[in-house]
């Protein structure tokens, strides 16, 4: 039996003998491997981005939605119809529960916001002082709402950084007046720069007290209530308490849906993982192409090296040894190509992250390992028949080179 080190050296000598062929095959494998890694890194990057967004607002949140949904998890319904509205009073009742720390009722709509000659139509959120806390929003300038300001209609607003820039440019915004629809509001705070949060661009948004929003939108119906828990371990109990409480307040009818942030995160994780695997498999087609290339080149190699195969058999190589030599050759080629592909993939991801820091790509370890294994299996699979053909050659005829 040939020693492994001798097999490697034998294979490397063959590769050195045919540098053009070697280069093409190594590149084909490298491109295939790096394509898979790059595409899965995009999927994984998306998953991590979503996780980061969820984690940035804490993992101890419950979201109470009006209307009864039979399934849990997945994306939240933006609008729903329900016989009874969720109101700010419901939110205040929820806040009395022992495990509830903060409650942010949300009354939302789009409205034209203007200052001087400049205007923008943006999402306007009506909420309480707890809203900034539960969404972990930080003020760059000014202040949040005082607790007392929720109780009555106060024409005060907190605006996002982008909206501030659009309406006031580099000038000071806090203390200035702006119009939301036909009402005047004084800017009391400007949010610190932050990207999208769970699909909402917090930079381009106005926040007003809940009571003002009820008046502005002429509706007491809440879009949702965000509940922050004191103890995450008691999440299930608290969920049930909220359901019971609202059922009691809504004449015995269970007409809300509660989604935990973890359930949403799990749902998103599942989706992004499936998408990542799907695009990885699609990218894997390039590895199959490399496999076909390896097969064709191996067939040509067998034909060109017939005399050598005959000689090896004549001087004592068994058919299995000959087959192993050819399989080893393609494996060595594939391993070199795969290592190059992995290096290339990581280099591309590193470069991308350096230039696009707000959306970090990440190659999952399972993707790297799976790709390497699949590449080697494809190479062995596609070289199997050429190697078998080589091993079955009659040594006497093969040595004639026919």
């Amino acid at each position: 039996m040939i020693k492994l080190v001798d097999r490697w050296q034998f294979s490397l000598k063959v590769m050195a003998m045919y540098p053009g062929r070697t280069l093409v095959l190594v590149l084909a494998v490298a491109i295939g491997v790096s394509s898979v890694l790059l595409l899965t890194s995009i999927g994984e990057g998306a998953r991590l981005y979503i996780n980061k967004e969820f984690n940035s607002i804490g993992s101890d949140l419950l979201i109470v939605l009006p209307g009864k949904k039979q399934t849990s998890g997945g994306s939240l319904p933006f609008y729903s119809t329900t016989p009874r509205e969720l109101t700010w009073r419901d939110a205040l009742a929820i806040k009395q529960l022992s495990n509830v720390e903060f409650v942010a009722p949300i009354n939302a709509g789009t409205a034209l916001v203007s200052a001087g000659n400049l205007s923008r139509e943006v999402i306007t959120i009506g909420s309480t002082s707890d809203f900034l806390i539960v969404r972990k929003l930080v003020l760059a300038k000014g202040r949040g709402f005082y607790h007392s300001e929720q109780q009555r209609i106060r024409h005060e607003a907190i605006i996002g950084s982008k909206l501030k820039k659009s309406l006031f440019g580099d000038a000071r915004a806090v203390g200035q007046w702006l119009n939301i629809a036909d009402r005047r509001y004084r800017v009391v705070g400007v949010l610190k720069e932050r990207g999208e949060s769970l699909g909402l661009d917090m930079r381009d948004m106005a926040i007003i007290p809940i009571s003002s929003a009820e008046s502005l939108f002429n509706s007491t119906a809440l879009f949702r209530i965000i509940v922050s828990l004191k103890q995450k371990s008691r999440e299930e109990v608290t969920k049930q308490q909220i359901i019971n409480l609202i059922k009691q307040r809504h004449d015995g009818e269970e007409d809300i849906t509660i989604v935990s942030q973890n359930a949403m995160m799990d749902a998103f994780n599942n989706i992004t993982q499936v998408v990542t695997i799907a695009i990885g498999v699609i990218a894997g087609i390039s590895l199959l192409v490399a496999g076909f290339l390896i097969m064709n080149v191996s067939y040509i190699s067998v034909v060109k090296r017939k005399a050598e195969i005959g000689l090896l058999k004549a001087i004592g190589a068994s058919s299995n040894e000959v087959q192993l030599l050819f399989l080893q050759e393609s494996s060595v080629l594939t391993i070199i190509g795969a290592v190059l592909g992995v290096t290339l993939g990581y280099a591309l991801v590193f470069t991308s992250n350096a230039f696009i820091p707000y959306f970090s790509l990440a190659i999952p370890l399972w993707s790297t390992l799976t790709t390497l294994i699949v590449a080697v299996l494809i190479s062995i699979g596609f070289t199997w028949f050429p190697a078998k053909k080589a091993s079955s050659l009659d040594p006497v005829i093969a040595m004639r080179g026919n």
Partner: protein
């Protein structure tokens, strides 16, 4: 009476050429003792190379028994035949059959590499043989950098590297000029003197007559089997 090293008993081999069967070995019976020097001569197509390939386990008989060193090789599986070939038989071919990308040393050491022998031992053994064959300066040369005579000496080194009992040479001087040819034959004869069993297939009558035992083949049969200095025997 000692057992022969090689025993062929009623060996038959037939090839299909188009629709016609061609009997290339016809009921061959032959005993070869250890240390013999035999030449096999005959016209093209007489079956001499086929007989050599049969003894070298490169080909299988259609029928009959072939026993080498007490091993009934006709009954062996492919893997076992390869092992017997590697350990007991050395081959020398007309066109040298060296691998162009390997150095002379690596070419000569190939059978040892196939046997999984350590590189240090391989190098030592090849160096000894190259020194014995007068090509010790050519260890690291590629085949394209060697003359015909040197190429055949590298091939002889490869054939001898596993210290086989049997050396089979198929037209070993066929691609050499006369002087290089005689030099190679001198080397082979000296190896035979040291005890190796030598079988040489040749067209060259002068070369064939140097062998102690001469076989002549016609139409797949051994037509003559004579010993140097004695009369011709009619063979099977």
């Amino acid at each position: 009476m000692t057992k022969p090293l090689i025993n062929l008993n009623e060996i038959n081999k037939c090839y299909q050429v188009g629709d016609q069967p061609l009997q290339v070995l016809n009921n061959i019976k032959l005993n070869i003792d250890s240390g013999e020097y035999i030449s096999i001569m005959g016209p093209s197509g007489s079956g001499k190379s086929t007989l050599l390939n049969m003894i070298g386990l490169l080909d299988r008989p259609d029928s009959g028994q072939l026993i080498i060193d007490d091993i009934p090789t006709h009954a062996l599986e492919e893997e076992q035949r390869a092992k017997v070939r590697r350990n007991n038989i050395g081959f020398i071919f007309q066109n040298f059959q060296l691998i162009p990308r390997l150095t002379a040393e690596e070419n000569a050491a190939l059978p040892m590499m196939l046997a999984g022998i350590d590189i240090k031992i391989r190098k030592q053994r090849v160096a000894e043989l190259f020194s014995q064959l007068g090509i010790e300066q050519r260890l690291h040369h590629l085949p394209k950098q060697l003359s015909g005579g040197q190429l055949q000496r590298v091939a002889i080194a490869r054939a001898m590297v596993m210290s086989p009992k049997i050396l089979l040479a198929d037209e070993p001087t066929g691609n050499l000029d006369q002087r290089s040819g005689w030099d190679v034959i001198d080397v082979l004869e000296s190896l035979n003197t040291e005890g190796i069993t030598l079988l040489v297939v040749t067209h060259d009558l002068q070369l064939g007559q140097r062998a102690a035992r001469q076989l002549a083949m016609v139409d797949g049969k051994i037509s003559e089997d004579c010993t140097k200095g004695e009369g011709h025997d009619q063979a099977s």
